[in-house]
């Protein structure tokens, strides 16, 4: 027996106070297995101890929300007896250590969260943030992460339809890999994790358990011998082929009425899944570790409980249905083992070789996990940068070319062409636009999906940045014609023990909350990733927002491409030329400063609802929201997507042209329509600012006398940057 010394306790990341709580709960010293269980259950990753207090403040309700945060994923009603189930999750640290396997297992994990609830996954998205393009590790990380995401999603046969990818030196030592999965289920066939019914069998399915991913900190403890390094890789290897079989087998079993509760094994494997199932259902569990399928010999209870082997699930079955279930899993050539039974003791009892090797009360452990009110300091507001403080460039055309070929704007085709984005035969809007749109199989409905965040805004002002991230997701869905319904989030921050970082977190949460409320765009699931810091250098605060919306009929969907010559181009929303924290200021002037553009949520809502109605009524087929790089970049993107030029008349607003073209004022859209005058009149009636700024046609993008660039040249610059970086 390993003695529980202060060093062992510390190696498990438990504080003295936490250990005292353990002693109080147990009324005795824990053994090593029990200590390991406490340590993973109470880790930041599983317990959300630093963030819980603030997450509770997020708006999570709307009439269409079926299930908000608290389950494996969030669920919304999309009509006709169908539900959309989705969530985003981070795999930042593993992807930095081993980009390919880190990214694959990230995708595998989020997929399981979705199908464990009864949904067939229909789309994957990913939000990626890398360090500076010229940092020595960046190319290796980009190529490994992208190949890993592709490797898993492609093999599973689930289209990866969208995401984002940006570069900034603050991620040099901490890249972000956030994976999102969206699934569809019948509302009558949703599965939850609450285990009920003493005497019901607990069943393990999927892959065998090996010594994968047993925590780094715990590796130091005394029980392990010299070759532990060799035996216990902290990096897991993904097996998408097995996951595909697990997916099909689970969905097949879900057609029967065998399953009472089901839960994937993700972080902290068997430990987390059994405790969550038991705690959610208010039961006890007896787990026979001899019945856990094992890939290696001589595994200890500690190792089995903490292993993070992938592609495993745990289920509670209706008694007497074991053989039906076994037949299905055997058909799919997967492990199937009745490994335990539910009890009414409220305790988790682990046995091995006929002996009790662990005995813990479930509720105190799962529910009484620590919750901290970490000190935080409000983030200082970045000063406002006035238009006059940004000098006019010599050559506006050159500026546009620079922006279009900048890491932030440059085409990410090199990435999404490695993803199978068409499999399943319902991708009606492929990557490259505002939101991806996937038809709900066998119906006319479409799901519009996007992932967004502008970290430089969050850095300058977490509150406005948090608002903006939500608003931009809402706008992207709107621009495709979708009605935005709900979001998932992935909160990526530095060390929460630092009041400054905690202040960024609080600011972002508050900003997000305000936007969610104003836009009726609640949070239904999410994930928190703290400690994204190397040598005291934190990343820019990055609350990735994954948004989902619905189109009633995919026939009335808009895309960003100009379609025909001679259409009027209408700018919707108010333009003030806000340049603080803009891409222009950073890229052209090298200045990372200034307050970000304020988000007027009432205007956001009014303008967006107006545009969405036009699309729904079939009046608008071409629509793009304005974001990084403002009007100039949006125009260029619409030209490049359609291979059609545009002539913009210039403007009469009194703003310097560079502020008009590259300011990043929010709540704006560009649309192309046959009858722009009628549209503007309509906008006036609705109280929405709108102005005709030009007309489509020709081979060049021309702005007054100041700029005229062939669309083909823009395309070359836009498409060229990433392949060149990666060559």
């Amino acid at each position: 027996m390993t003695e529980i010394t202060p060093k062992v306790i510390k190696d498990h990341g438990l504080s003295d106070a936490e250990y005292q709580t353990i002693l109080r709960i147990l009324g005795r010293e824990p053994n090593l297995t029990e200590l390991g269980i406490f340590s993973v259950m109470w880790s930041e990753h599983c317990s959300y101890k630093s963030s819980k207090k603030w997450l509770k403040t997020l708006p999570t309700k709307a009439p269409w929300v079926i299930c908000g945060p608290g389950e494996n994923a969030g669920i919304i009603d999309i009509g006709d007896g169908q539900a959309c189930i989705f969530k985003m999750e981070s795999h930042n640290h593993p992807s930095y250590i081993e980009p390919y396997q880190g990214a694959t297992t990230g995708v595998g994990g989020i997929l399981r969260d979705i199908f464990t609830m009864g949904a067939r996954p229909v789309a994957n998205l990913n939000a990626l943030h890398f360090g500076a393009p010229d940092h020595p590790k960046t190319r290796h990380l980009v190529s490994g992460v992208v190949a890993g995401i592709a490797g898993y999603g492609n093999c599973m046969g689930i289209p990866t339809v969208g995401g984002e990818c940006d570069f900034h030196p603050s991620y040099n030592g901490n890249i972000l890999v956030n994976a999102m999965t969206v699934g569809v289920a019948d509302t009558a066939k949703i599965f939850y994790s609450a285990a009920t019914g003493a005497g019901n069998p607990l069943v393990y399915v999927g892959s065998k358990t090996g010594r994968d991913g047993i925590h780094g900190a715990t590796m130091a403890s005394a029980e392990f011998n010299e070759d532990s390094e060799e035996k216990r890789p902290t990096v897991q290897v993904g097996d998408p082929f097995t996951e595909k079989l697990v997916l099909e087998a689970c969905l097949e079993l879900m057609q029967t009425d065998c399953i009472i509760a089901i839960q994937d094994m993700g972080a902290a494997g068997l430990t987390c899944s059994t405790f969550e199932m038991a705690s959610n259902g208010g039961v006890g569990v007896e787990l026979n570790l001899d019945k856990v399928p094992q890939r290696e010999t001589g595994m200890t209870p500690y190792e089995m409980m903490l292993s993070e082997s992938q592609e495993r699930m745990l289920m509670v079955l209706r008694p007497g249905t074991e053989e039906t279930a076994r037949r299905i899993f055997e058909k799919w050539e997967l492990e199937f083992s009745v490994c335990g039974v539910l009890t009414d003791t409220g305790r988790m009892v682990l046995t091995k070789d006929g002996k009790v090797v662990g005995d813990l009360p479930i509720d105190p452990l799962a529910k009484a996990s620590p919750e901290y009110d970490r000190p935080w300091t409000p983030s200082p507001k970045a000063p406002y940068v006035a238009v006059e403080d940004v000098k006019a460039p010599n050559d506006l055309g050159q500026v546009l070319k620079t922006l279009v070929g900048s890491p932030t704007i440059a085409s990410k085709r090199w990435i999404w062409e490695q993803y199978d984005h068409m499999v399943m035969g319902d991708t009606v809007q492929r990557p490259g636009g505002d939101a991806a749109v996937v038809r709900v199989h066998g119906t006319r409905k479409g799901l519009a999906m996007t992932s967004d965040c502008t970290p430089r805004y969050c850095q300058a002002d977490p509150f406005e940045g948090g608002k903006q991230a939500v608003a931009e997701a809402w706008r992207n869905i709107t621009a495709s014609g979708g009605l935005p319904l709900a979001i998932t989030d992935c909160m990526n921050f530095g060390n929460p023990e630092k009041p400054k970082i905690m202040g960024q977190f609080v600011g972002c949460i508050r900003g997000m909350s305000e936007a969610c409320l104003a836009l009726e765009f609640p949070v239904v699931s999410g994930n928190v990733s703290f400690y994204n810091e190397t040598q005291g250098e934190g990343i820019q605060p990055t609350p990735s927002i994954g948004g989902v919306g619905v189109l009633k009929d995919v026939a009335s969907m808009a895309t960003v491409a100009f379609r025909t010559a001679g259409q009027g181009i209408v700018l919707v929303g108010e333009t003030r030329g806000h340049l603080g924290s803009s891409l222009y200021l950073r890229t052209v002037e090298g200045r990372e400063e200034g307050a970000p553009p304020p988000v007027d949520l009432a205007a956001e809502r009014r303008n967006g609802d107006f545009v969405r109605d036009l699309i729904a009524n079939g009046l608008v087929k071409t629509c793009h929201d304005l974001a990084d790089g403002g009007l100039g970049v949006a125009l260029a993107e619409m030209c490049m997507a359609g291979g059609i030029g545009a002539t913009v008349y210039g403007h009469d607003g009194g703003l310097p042209l560079h502020a008009w073209l590259f300011g990043e004022d929010q709540a704006r859209y560009l649309v192309a329509v046959d009858n722009p005058e009628a549209m503007v009149a309509e906008a006036v009636r609705a109280g929405v600012p709108a102005a005709i700024i030009g007309v489509t046609g020709g081979d060049c993008l021309t702005v007054g006398e100041s700029l005229s660039i062939p669309v083909a040249e823009l395309r070359g610059i836009h498409e060229g940057w990433l392949p060149k970086l990666m060559a």
């Binding site: 093999c155 082929f241 097995t242 490695q418 068409m422 492929r430």
Partner: protein
Amino acid sequence: MRAAVIVFPGSNCDRDVMVALQQSMGRAPHMVWHRETGMPEVDLIVVPGGFSYGDYLRSGAMAAHSPIMKEVVRRANAGVAVLGICNGFQILTEAGLLPGVLMRNAGLKFICRDVGLRVETADSLFTRPYRKGQVVRFPIAHNDGNYFADEATLKRLEDGDRIAFRYASSDGKTDAAANPNGSLRNIAGILNERRNVLGLMPHPERLADPELGGTDGRPMFDGLVKAFAA
């Protein structure tokens, strides 16, 4: 027409091709699990795309030894039409129904995008609805589409008018710029000697619905249905 789609562990375009067949046939094909040793009488057998056995070892290698493949080979030899798409093409080469192999893409990356294809022969059940020399647009989505065969085999294929499709630019040039994966002589699809087996890397089923962005794949399925109209 009566059709069957073979489903292997890891197949993932089985539903896509079922939808395309159903659209052309007006009814669903039989879905046949790889462990079966027999299947109903059919006019067409489709070996679909995906990652059978995860593409582990070599793509298509393990699926080629699935129990059902004996039956597929038997039927093919008896003249039943067999269509292998993407992973299906790889499986048919591993099973010996088609010559050559599909190696790792020259760029070593998975590629998913629309490509141009020049129809090299209209003389087959599968390509009859197209014109020889016509350029069509199909999507590709593969890691291992780099067709390789020895000189003698290539010559036999060419002499026998057995190359069904080559990668081509929109104006029909079959040069290196139009070749996405390094395939020898831009080969995208080939026929067996008897012309009843077609293997191709691109996915006709992915562009058989205008909402997905095109319909160049649809004539292949409509043509098969017409050919087998009772």
